[in-house]
Symmetry: C2
Subunit: 93 residues, 2 copies
């Protein structure tokens, strides 16, 4: 499974990269995805240890919190920096 061969997965990683944690519902709205579609891509990202999915109970409701791992952050940073280098636009730290 090539992780970056999906615009949705790249955007999930981008969103998490700047925030560390996101609620499932935030990601879903931000990227305009269905529950099923987001779940599908999160499972793939979890499998390669780019994210962790943490279940919590908040005010009696079960919620999913998505956390990007160091491996996920490094991988996203390498991807975006390669694109920026190729396009001669510098890098992000």
């Amino acid at each position: 499974m090539k992780i970056f061969n999906s615009e949705i997965r790249v955007k999930i990683l981008a969103t998490l990269y700047g925030r560390e944690f996101c609620e499932f519902s935030y990601l879903k709205e931000k990227l305009n995805l269905t529950d099923g579609n987001l779940e599908h891509h999160l499972k793939i990202l979890e499998k390669v240890n780019y994210i962790e999915i943490i279940k919590i109970i908040h005010k009696g409701k079960l919620k999913s919190i998505i956390k990007i791992t160091d491996k996920g952050k490094e991988s996203f940073r390498n991807y975006i920096n390669e694109l920026l280098r190729l396009s001669k636009e510098g890098v992000i730290k």
Copy 2:
């Protein structure tokens, strides 16, 4: 065909974005691709008018020059800027 659902196509566009023109052989070496693989992705990018493929004869040899179009540049810029915005890393011009 989702253009950005391919890491290779994104990298081809990134490389062209900073240069306007590239030789086929340059792209092939820079991105470490086979002739067939690069040709496959260039055809897809040509079909959506993101690039033009120009055949020239240079010192008696037929060469392919790849040019990114304004549409291709705009599309790549929008893609990378959306990723940078999502990850809170600013935009490229």
